[in-house]
C-alpha cells in the first residue's frame, strides 16, 4: 500500500508570505506553520480526537486499575454491555472497557516507539547513502530495495515469529508488560524504515549540492557535523510528516499482527490482540470486536488528519 494523497493548496513560491497580512510583526517559519495548521480544519479535528483519546487511555487508568482490567470473572463470561460493564465482558469475563484503556496505552506506545526505531534506521541509512554516495550508497540502496520488494505484512509475520518469545517481560511506568511488546516495536520499526530512508536520501542528494554545505565543508567541518547540523535540520519537515503518518501505519500494523495472534501476547492487552479470536464471537458478542476496532479507527484517522495538516503547514509552498 502506498501513501495517501490530499491536496495542498499550492501557490507561487515567489509570493513568500513573510509578513502578516494585517501589516503586523514578521512571522517566523514556525509561527507561520502553526497558523497554517490551525486553519486546517481536519488537522484541528484530528488534534481534538487525539486529545480525547489520550485523556481516555491515561485518565481511564486512574479510574480502573490494571489488575481490574486483567481480572477474570468466569461466572460473568461474554456478558452484554450493562451499567457495571459498559462495553460488556470478554470470553473469560474481563471488563472490555478497562481493557480498551490499557490496550490503548499499549497500542499508542507501540505506534510511537516503532516509529522512533524506523526513524533511527531510515535517517541513518538515508543520510549515509545520500551524503557519501558511491559504494556505500549502492550497497545500502540494494538492501533497502530488497526489503521493499518483500510484501510488508509477510515480512512482519516472519519477523515476529523470528523474534517472538525471546524477550522477557519488563516494567515500565509501573506496569509489567509482556516482552512481546518490545518484539513488536522492533519488528514494526525494522519493516517500515525503507520509505524514510529513500525520502532522506533524496533530500540529502539535493541539499549536498547547495552552497551552504559547500561552505561548511570548505571551513573544514567534519562530515558527521555537516550531516547532523547542516543538512539534517533542513530536511526535517518531510521527515516529521512521514513520521507522523508512520505512527498511524504502525498502529495498524500492530493491529494486524496481533489480530493474527503473532503480536502482543496476553495478559497484556492491546487493541489488536483484543480482536484476536473475537471473530469467533461475531454473532454472540459483537461488543468484543466493535469497541477495540472503533478505537483503532479513531486513532489512525486522527493521526492521518494531523499528518495531513502538518504536511500543508510545513510545506513552504502552501497558502497561508
Amino acid at each position: 500500500m502506498t501513501g495517501f494523497v490530499t491536496d495542498s493548496k499550492t501557490q507561487s513560491v515567489l509570493q513568500f508570505p513573510a509578513e502578516d497580512a494585517q501589516g503586523g510583526a514578521v512571522l517566523t517559519p514556525g509561527r507561520l506553520a502553526w497558523r497554517r495548521f490551525r486553519r486546517h480544519r481536519m488537522a484541528v479535528a484530528g488534534t481534538l480526537i487525539m486529545a480525547a483519546l489520550l485523556l481516555y487511555v491515561i485518565g481511564g487508568s486512574f479510574v480502573w486499575s490494571e489488575s481490574y482490567a486483567n481480572r477474570t470473572e468466569t461466572g460473568n463470561r461474554l456478558a452484554a454491555p450493562t451499567l457495571e460493564h459498559p462495553f460488556g465482558t470478554d470470553a473469560v469475563g474481563r471488563d472490555v472497557l478497562a481493557r480498551t484503556v490499557y490496550g490503548g496505552q499499549i497500542s499508542l506506545l507501540i505506534g510511537v516507539s516503532a516509529v522512533l526505531v524506523s526513524l533511527t534506521f531510515g535517517v541513518l541509512v538515508g543520510a549515509l547513502s545520500g551524503y557519501y554516495g558511491g559504494i556505500i550508497d549502492s550497497v545500502l540502496m540494494r538492501f533497502t530495495e530488497a526489503m521493499f520488494s518483500i510484501p510488508s505484512l509477510f515480512l512482519l509475520i516472519v519477523m515476529s515469529k523470528f523474534f517472538g518469545g525471546r524477550v522477557p517481560s519488563f516494567d515500565v511506568f509501573g506496569r509489567t508488560l509482556s516482552g512481546s511488546v518490545i518484539v513488536i516495536v522492533g519488528v514494526i520499526g525494522l519493516t517500515s524504515w525503507m520509505y524514510l530512508a529513500r525520502l532522506v536520501r533524496a533530500n540529502f542528494l539535493s541539499l549536498k549540492q547547495r552552497d551552504f554545505v559547500l561552505a561548511a565543508e570548505c571551513l573544514g567541518v567534519r562530515n558527521r557535523d555537516v550531516i547532523v547540523r547542516h543538512i539534517l535540520p533542513n530536511s526535517l519537515a518531510p521527515i516529521i510528516v512521514a513520521a507522523t503518518l508512520g505512527v498511524a501505519g504502525a498502529i495498524l500494523s500492530e493491529a494486524y499482527v496481533s489480530f493474527l495472534g503473532l503480536g502482543v501476547q496476553p495478559p497484556t492487552a492491546s487493541w489488536g490482540n483484543m480482536l484476536e479470536n473475537a471473530y469467533n464471537y461475531l454473532e454472540s458478542a459483537p461488543w468484543l470486536w466493535f469497541f477495540p476496532g472503533l478505537f483503532t479507527v479513531l486513532t489512525v484517522l486522527s493521526i492521518n488528519f494531523i499528518g495531513d495538516g502538518l504536511r500543508d503547514a510545513l510545506d513552504p509552498r502552501t497558502l497561508r
Partner: protein, 343 residues
Amino acid sequence: MTQYIVRRSLQAIPLLFIISVILFLLMSNMGDPLATLGGRQPPRGADRQRLERQMGLDQPIYLQYVYWLVGNDWRKVDTNGDGEPDTNGTRRGILRGDWGTSLVTRRPVLEMIWERLPNTLLLMGTVEVLVILIALGIGIYSALRQYSAADNVMTAFAFIGYSMPIFWAALMLMYIFAVNFKRWGLPYFPTVGMYDPAVGKTASQVIWHMVLPVISLSITYVAVYSRHIRASMLEVINQDYIRTARSKGLSNRSILWGHALKNASLSLVTLIGLDLPLLLAGAVVTERIFAWPGMGRLFLDHVERVDVPVLMGILMLVSVAVVVFQLLTDIVYTWLDPRIRYH
C-alpha cells in the same frame, strides 16, 4: 530501450539473491519445524535426530540455503538418518525449477501453490478491477468538482476507509450483511469458504461467497486509488495543453478521455504496478476471516508449522513478481509519457 531492459533485468539478479538470503535466514530461525510432525508428542531423542538428518535440518544454515538454491544431487546426503552420508540427494534446487517439498505435507511446493493460486487470483483480480473502475469514477468526479459537497463527502469517506483495519471492516460487514440480515429474514451473504459443500462449486455459489471479502478488501484500496487519481487529475486539468484543447473547441468529453486522463494515469499505473504483484500473495487477513482457500491462508497455515520450503516458495514468487512489475511499470511510463526516456 532494449539495452535498458536488459540492464534492469541483470540488476534484478543480485536483488533477488539478497531477498532470498534475508528471507532464508529469518525463516530458518522461526521455530521448530519438527514440533508438530509427531502428532501430539513432538519427536524426541533418537527419533528427532534421525528426522533432522533425513530432512537435512542438521546441516549448517549456509548449506541448507545452497541445497534450496541449487539442489543437493551433487553431494551424498544421509537418507536413512544414521549420521553417515550414503546416497546422492534428489533435490534440484529452485534455480533448476525444483521448489522443494513441504516439510508438513511432503508434497511438492509448486503443486501446493498451483492449487491455491487460481482462488487467490479470482478474489484479488476481481478486487483490483472493481477498485480501478470505482476509484476512476470517484477520482475524476471529485477532481472536476473540487470542494463541492460530494467531493468533501468522498474525501471524508476516503480518510475513514484508509484508516480502517481491513479485518474490522470485514467484521462489520459480516455482522450487518450476514448476521443481522439472517436475523431479519433477508437474503444474507455467506461468511465462510468459497462455496457451500452441499451445493457444490458452481459459479453462482462462488460469486455469492465472494461478495463480502471483495467489498471489505476494496474499501481501503478505493480510498487510496481515488485520492491519487483525484490529485493527479487536478494537476493535469490546470495545465496549458488542456486550455489549448479547450480553446481549439474540443468537447469536454474528448478533453477528459483523450488528453487529461492519459496524462493523469501515470500515478494510477504506479499504484497498479505496485499492487498487482502483491495480488499473487493474496490477502492474509481477509482470507483468514472468510476462510478463503488462497495463498494468504496457505502462508499463514504453514508459518505456524515453520514449513520453510512452502514459505520461501510463496515469498520468492511474490518478490520476483514485484521486480518484474516494477520494470513493466517503467516501460508503460514511456508509452504514457513520451518525454520519459531511459538510458
